[in-house]
Symmetry: none
Subunit: 406 residues, 2 copies
């Protein structure tokens, strides 16, 4: 129900602090032996206390039955309907390696490939070259003084194995461009073709870049070719400060989550934290400077994708053990949830609703919950809702929304 | 998801009776001493029996996190999306004092103010003159024979202290007009300026009225000036009879709730009832003449806004004690709920979901509830939904909706 035009008219200033603590892929499925999920099996005395003092519910990141990727999952948490707002694949790849995407950028994902002497693709992944080899080739491309228009810059960055990103920066660029990857061997890479008039110039610039880049790597082996796909302009999302009146900070270990947060206007906090405890210490350091703190814990998802129930449970327990440091900051509103479910039994993201805990000492309607878990959340006082309703709820409990109508 | 076009195609006649019993501001927060809300703490044997025989749920008047005013709260209960349908401030003020607003009316809220000899505002509230003084000035204005077009009538009515309403009645009037209140001292009142072409004539008429009204009060002190704001035309809402096929009656003590009900086509029942018991007696008297009975209890909200937990609880108990008189009428569908939450701890409206009890002896799916309270409602069989879904639910249980599709 997040209607940004409505929220803009209702937002009022306050001195309150909101923490959104995201355990990536939090939701799980009960295992056979004791019918408990990772969250239900975990020893979480602090979260259980917060559940008793707060209120539970569960949310759908995108919609019922829809398995969400990390990008849409986080957009949902931040209040943006993922079906309306989209972060293009090229941009997501760029922010995923920590590249600072600007509103003047068009990003594309690249694959090195192997071409035959007719220019036809014979290996779409260039024999899965190593990340080091990828970095060497990217370095070579960046040093080749490829010529484009004087007011356009190009950045090439290695990702992993045969994958890289290309970012073109300039005024008036647009990203409605077809993939050059023909998605099969035996075909030549396609030219970058604009889907609309506004993208014609950008497509032509990418074609000029591709032609010169192919000259640079023509004698390489096996990576003597390349394809680009997922062209996307920086999405121009409404910003947290503008929509919610919040100075927001992202405390994330993985670049992609910092990047997505930056796209909605959050400050990307530089830090060396590697543990949850250290992330909370970063929050303490910057506490006076921000109103909203997005703290992202990655390893719940990673261990879920590994299929390791016990290890995912252990990450949840690590978060719980660190919680006193966060609570010592006395947030006015603390929301603990995930961006999607990643049941370790499925070893992948899933469509199951995501448990959510809302703690707000002054205003939460306690719902009789005694612990934080999927089944308690399904019966919680907040009911079942869309992820995009979380931000209005947080703002309300932070006394940051005026009454609607008389 | 009340879709009026859909409902119109499905509505069928029936002999059934629906009662919507609204305890204003019903929802609360649990107090520390026993973790109970006002509704949970209240001794409500009749409602608890209805909960056992019926089905519970909770609703959001406008949306998650949004604190609703009384106008949008009631529009939601009546099935109108408050984000789509709006009752302008001037109209709400007029109906709030019992003025019968018609489709030919444009209403504005007025403030008496104090002007200096340059016509600049030196006190926006004219020293907060008494309601009696306000009534005297309004009487003077109404008797001054202010000249406008022959086919236009003007009504001025006192509200409270320095506040009054002006209603202009005529064909082709429109309300897209800027406030004349400059919202600060030291400035002259602004002319009424139309925001669209359709409102040009109405704005000009208001300016002619203002100029003559200022002559009438020019020698008054301190109220020698006035400002107007919240210009609004009668909203032209779809009517209960047309959308739902219901002959509807409003039994409310406060004029504003009768007025809002009248705007959706309910009959405004004149009565002297002051207690809930007496309101139910009014329902009994008019029972054969209507299909739908909106009964509004104000004091749950008033006592919540006073911060008086025990007094709000007592109002709920008064309603419960009176219920046998209502049940003796044998309604086919009885819905007991609120238009928003007003927790006495917050002394104000809040965004928390509102408990709802649906009793329909023939068709309610009993959900195992044993009593009526916020937490029972959060776990109730109806789940969590938008207020605008209540009317379709009531119609369905009243056998007033046909099957959709074959």
């Amino acid at each position: 129900m997040a209607d940004f035009d409505l929220l803009r008219t209702l937002v009022q200033p306050a001195q309150t602090k909101i923490v959104l603590l995201v355990m990536d892929g939090l939701g799980g499925l009960p295992r056979a032996e004791d019918d408990r999920t990772e969250l239900e099996a975990a020893h979480t005395p602090h979260m259980d206390r917060l559940a008793r003092e707060g209120c539970l519910g569960q949310h759908y990141p995108v919609g019922i039955g829809i398995t969400s990727g990390s990008g849409p999952g986080h957009l949902g948490l931040f209040g943006y309907d993922p079906l309306k707002y989209e972060i293009g694949r090229g941009v997501l790849e760029a922010v995923g390696i920590g590249f600072h995407v600007t509103p003047r950028d068009v990003c594309a994902r690249g694959n090195f490939c192997t071409l035959d002497d007719q220019g036809r693709i014979i290996d779409r992944r260039a024999g899965r070259i190593s990340t080091e080899e990828c970095a060497r080739l990217v370095h070579k491309l960046n040093n080749a003084h490829i010529k484009l228009d004087a007011d356009v810059e190009v950045f090439v960055e290695p990702v992993q194995d045969y994958r890289f990103v290309v970012v073109m920066r300039g005024d008036g660029l647009a990203g409605q461009i077809e993939d050059t990857d023909p998605q099969r061997v035996g075909a030549q890479p396609l030219p970058a073709r604009a889907r609309d008039a506004a993208s014609e110039r950008t497509a032509a610039l990418f074609n000029r870049w591709i032609a010169q880049a192919l000259e640079v790597i023509r004698d390489e082996h096996p990576a003597n070719g390349l394809t680009l796909r997922g062209f996307a302009k920086e999405p121009g999302l409404p910003k947290f400060q503008d929509v919610y009146g919040l100075r927001a900070a992202a405390i994330a270990v993985y670049p992609m989550y910092r990047g997505v947060a930056a796209l909605v206007g959050m400050a990307r906090i530089d830090h060396q934290a590697r543990t949850v405890q250290e992330q909370f210490e970063v929050a303490a350091r910057i506490w006076p400077d921000y109103d909203f703190f997005f703290i992202h814990v990655k390893y719940t998802d990673s261990r879920g994708e590994d299929g390791n129930f016990a290890a995912k449970q252990a990450v949840i327990e690590e978060v719980d053990a660190a919680l006193p440091a966060l609570l010592a900051l006395k947030p006015d509103v603390l929301i603990i949830t995930g961006d999607h479910s990643t049941p370790s039994q499925l070893r992948s993201h899933s469509w199951h609703p995501v448990p959510l805990l809302l703690w707000a000492p002054a205003t939460a309607r306690r719902d009789g919950s005694t612990h934080f878990g999927e089944r308690a959340c399904a019966r919680g006082g907040l009911g079942t809702f869309h992820a995009r309703d979380i931000m209005p709820l947080a703002l309300a409990h932070a006394q940051r929304l005026q009454k609607f109508g008389a």
